[in-house]
Symmetry: D2
Subunit: 409 residues, 4 copies
């Protein structure tokens, strides 16, 4: 096991990777989940239990994490970190007299929330997706081997082929006997996180049969049916706003222009820890192209409006560049509720749409007009059925429950 801080390309030196022997491997990139960013909280976690060595990595957020942690501690479990993954680890050990796949099945009865899990024993690679399928997990093939990944684009990168998504509530066991699937409890309802399509996933990924890029373009087209301010140009907030802006431009006939250039060497706004750094980061990250936007009435297309601070900065920058009018179009509904399933959208008091009405939000970000895509419009952007998404951040429909203490993180 090797853990390091930094970007993946820098954190794992070539010679280290060459030293790793074996037929199974798992890895994890940590998306800030609220626990301190120490290496002891970094995943995968490894441990020995009754049946040998196991490594485990988890993506998502448990709704009953604190309760389970306390229950385990009451029964004599020890913890070395704050990571939720350690709850899985201790539960697996509790069920150590069962084969690993049965132990995981029992864990799924205990655990509420959103999770995609990869577990590695000395002989098996196991993938699990929560009963509602809130967090994505897909299965690919590379030569004779199998690959599990959160996003299908990861398969492309290594030349693997997407076979299918792991099903909600499915346990996929890969070992020398090949691939076996355990269907567990029938889920209440399939509900993949809609925010994956809006913002989180890379556009070239396909999740549960929907290609992210196509869905985003469709969101732009839907928005064109709902909001048509008078304007000269459609400008995206890159990168996540780009496909929607293209869709919007297509649908309206307005010219699509890349009026904001991205500095490729800066990571996402989202995972910067503190607000201060975020402000600086925006400035470093995006640059208005004066030749394109000066004196123009601009339709600015972004995927979502969470805290509003980024949009405010961008609009300020555009104003300084001499833009005449700025009409802000958001290809998702107002984010009104916190996410308990692993998207770190922050607490309600930080959600701009939960604090101000539409006009107040518009004023705060400094746009000439502000338009959101409706929830219906959003759902209509997908090919398949409309009732298979988690939309809790828009309508508080928490399919996998809420934490017991209603202190909205």
């Amino acid at each position: 096991m090797y853990k390091n801080k930094g970007l993946v390309a820098e954190a794992f030196p070539e010679e280290l990777l060459n030293r790793l022997k074996g037929q199974i491997a798992i890895g994890h990139v940590r998306f800030g989940d609220g626990t301190p960013p120490s290496l002891s909280n970094a995943q995968p976690l490894t441990f020995n239990y009754l049946r040998g060595s196991v490594a485990l990595a988890h993506n998502g957020k448990l709704v009953n994490g604190p309760e389970l942690r306390h229950r385990l501690a009451v029964n004599g479990s020890i913890f070395q970190s704050d990571s939720e993954a350690e709850i899985f680890v201790n539960l697996i050990a509790r069920y150590g007299q069962n084969p690993l796949e049965e132990a995981l099945l029992k864990c799924m009865i205990d655990i509420k929330g959103a999770y995609a899990l990869v577990v590695m024993s000395e002989k098996q690679l196991i993938g699990i997706r929560d009963p509602n399928g809130i967090r994505p997990l897909c299965l690919g093939k590379l030569d004779d081997g199998y690959v599990l990944a959160s996003e299908s684009c990861a398969l492309d990168t290594i030349g693997a082929t997407l076979i299918r998504d792991v099903e909600p509530g499915e346990i996929v066991v890969i070992d020398e006997k090949g691939l076996r699937s355990f269907k567990t409890m029938v889920p209440s309802r399939r509900a993949v996180c809609i925010f994956e399509y809006i913002y989180l996933a890379r556009p070239d990924s396909t999740i549960d049969g929907e290609t992210v890029n196509i869905a985003r373009r469709e969101m732009g087209k839907q928005l064109a049916r709902e909001a048509r301010p008078e304007a000269d140009l459609v400008v995206p907030v890159p990168d996540s706003g780009t496909p929607a802006a293209i869709g919007y431009a297509e649908a309206t006939g307005l010219p699509f222009r890349e009026g904001l250039m991205k500095n490729r060497y800066i990571g996402r706004t989202f995972i910067r820890p503190s607000q201060k750094i975020r402000d600086v980061a925006v400035r470093l990250k995006l640059n208005p192209i004066r030749e394109i936007v000066e004196g123009k009435r601009v339709i600015l297309v972004d995927d979502s409006l969470v805290r509003g601070t980024t949009s405010k900065k961008i609009i300020q920058m555009l104003r300084n560049t001499g833009v005449k009018e700025i009409h802000m179009l958001i290809t998702s509904p107002p984010v009104l509720y916190p996410c308990y399933y692993g998207v770190d959208t922050s607490a309600r008091e930080d959600l701009i749409a939960a604090c101000y009405d539409l006009e107040g939000t518009r004023k705060y970000i400094g746009a000439d007009s502000l338009h959101y895509l409706s929830l219906d419009g959003l759902l209509n952007s997908f090919k398949g059925s409309k009732d298979r998404f988690c939309t809790a951040c828009f309508n508080a429909d928490y399919i996998a429950g809420k934490p017991e203490s209603h202190n909205e993180r």
Copy 2:
């Protein structure tokens, strides 16, 4: 918590120690106990359990370690290392519904073997000595505070005063209420490791009322009653053979001479991992003083003869320096049996006295004669009663039991 490899003075930088805040601290220097020398096996171990954070360091060896480890694993405990300390850690967590001192009392019912333990919670410092008191642990006072240490010389170093030894089977709890003592099960018999006096402890330490230096000199005097080869000089193998050589010289009237000089910058032979390094180490470590020993009949005094390789090297070096006769005198009986209580004397097949008879051993090390101190003579070297030592390495009287699998490590 901070862990590092190397000598204490080098491993803990000044600025690091300055950063440590708080009123309680524990530390550990690892004496090779057979587990791999990785940092994950390094102590103290820290963990969170039902009652909060605990750190723990342990000196000794458990007789039923593997059984307890398996029993814990069957019940769902996880392990991150091979360290025996992790058995204590998991047992404490199992008894987490008891206050820490009661949990430790229960641990003492479970655990067989030799151990001295320091445990630190957020509010308490706790010291424990096994029911037979095989491993030493002493209690000192520094201003208003208390200090626990394996050897009393550590107290002197920091200016603390020795109060008393922790009693066999005693739990000493130090917290804001002061010091409390829990006497636990009445032990079968007090049996402090006699090898502490012969070799392990520093000569300026006092253990259970006997000062090591004085005991060693007395061993030399006892040996003078038992073995009197004709010779010109008494030369110690420094440092542990020195007090006994002085005692022997006093008793016999022969001149005491430091015929072997020690290179102060090399550590002990004992804890070097492999045999190869050991051979080199001996050569680097000791240097014969030709002016003293050339042409002389030398009585060479050493504390013990375990594998015989060190003695063989020394005698070889002395021969090369022109010594006329070498009479090897050992101030302890032949080490015939492995230690299961934490002294890494090695397996029986490596014990020279278990492989050869006296004459065979003499030939192997290359001495002109070889004499051991008798067990009675050894016991007579102490002021107090004679039946309070563990002498298992000499007579296989394993007071705290043997491991179930008789594979002699």
Copy 3:
């Protein structure tokens, strides 16, 4: 709770039943399962655990009962009886931090074997059928209430209507919110005990869509296709041989005659504890009608041949009555293997077909000829698909596994 020995009608006095208050009730009639017939082994078992009072009754046999019992004991569970139901009880308590239905789901992961279970808490009535559906369990409706029963004929008796069979692996929860169903693990294969149709169930019961009486008549018809000894009469061994004899007579055109009269006041041969009592019981139970059978070539139809002792007695009685020829026709294949799923067919050494070949068996029972229905013929007697039965006693296909110790009980 009230337990008593004897027949149900006698064991539970009217006034006692009148005293019972409440809205939920469960009961159990004990079919000898090899454990001593003491009241402490009688079901239902009642117990208190973390979530309150629970009563439980179980029909079937666990394959890994001893392993689970030992595992529970190792973890501190206590047992008051030898009953397998106590394994369920202790497992439920182990999972006491889960709601009862989730605890039962976890039990189903632990438990291998055949079981139909009714569980009653203070607010719920729960029915469970093992993942292969080996033992039957059906669900009925009576006014506003629900009824669970092993056989549908029990519903008729109390005026309830059969809704459907509980599905293999299904948990049915009945409480004030009505009826909810949890589908659990997808079973390897549906496999209801074929012996229920052959012998165990009452003919007026319907199990998994097949009415027992009709299936038995069909077995007789199938047998007519396979075996046609020359004879004058078809005589059943009542009661379980009767429908098959009728079918056989219909198919062959031979006259059906009740040549053996049953004494209605004696219970089944099957559940008599010892062989001695069994011999007497046969004589008391059946009487040949001389007027019908004397001087005749008789086709004697019985459902199965297990130990052969009953058949031998009957044939002896018929011979003594002056029957000319006796052709024994069995409407099932030879029982060659022990049942590990709750049918107390006895050990292999007692199975007549496992000890003798066809001719040897014929000689042992004293018939002029002996014919078994083939397994294919048996399976063809059912309307639905052929691969949904447990036929392990005929072909050793132990769908739910075998006990670890291969001592064939």
Copy 4:
């Protein structure tokens, strides 16, 4: 195991006792402890656990019973009764991987309160007395065997000899190797229940070196030093008041007269469940002898005044018989606090001395004067040291703690 309701002599038929085979036996007579008087609560309890069959009987009351019960339930233990003995049973099973005597040692760390315990495995008879020795337990010898009993008079009855009392905190193990003793935690203070001497124990018993009868006579003598109302006679409330009355008469020179006759066929007032039955019981139980008491000034001596109802009835009866004056003398101090250690003195609101002052109490019982023995006077009635009794009912010094919920039962 055999349990029955009623007096011992009637409950266990001769022929039943003759059927019992074996070398070890335990029994229990249930003194009402507040739990319902059903057979399932009757002791001994028997159970199977990891190490085999165990039977257990317990006398006393746990201070942390509900907490332990809940803790066990949380960890998956089941309970069949309300008996505190079942807490011991489940704790023993939890520590099943330890030998029985070590498991009991761990139980003693968990359990707070007053208890005397006999435990029987297939090979051992074990006696335990709580660390303060609140409840008595004595050890006797009969031929080659050992006997454990709550009161030494039981030894006399069967011809055994008292060896000694089991020590506070001692575990006595009797098996084929003879008798071994484990001294456990050093107790905070020895504190045998003083009420045993005042009322509970039979006068011919000797507890911890003090013979009950002698102590009671001495209490009467002490009382003579403290209270001397003018009177003609000293009359005891039989039987427990008799020795004290004799002592009082001796000390004062007043004539001792048995003015109240006891109906020998009625049991003790104390254990009658309800107040109504108690009133009737007093009338049936005691009869004034008119010839002795009529027209006299009587000193009525009783051992204790708990609820006052019995005394009130007796005084009423005596008044009706024409007694001139009644001076009530109690050979113990006012019972002001509830007992949490197994004496069912009832809740505080029922304690007469906790509700009224001395004059109020006198009025309530209808005596002409009322005098209690002082606590010092009581303690001076014993030969040995004065600080080895539990006197919590008089002074609230709860040596073994109080229940967490201060609802005074």
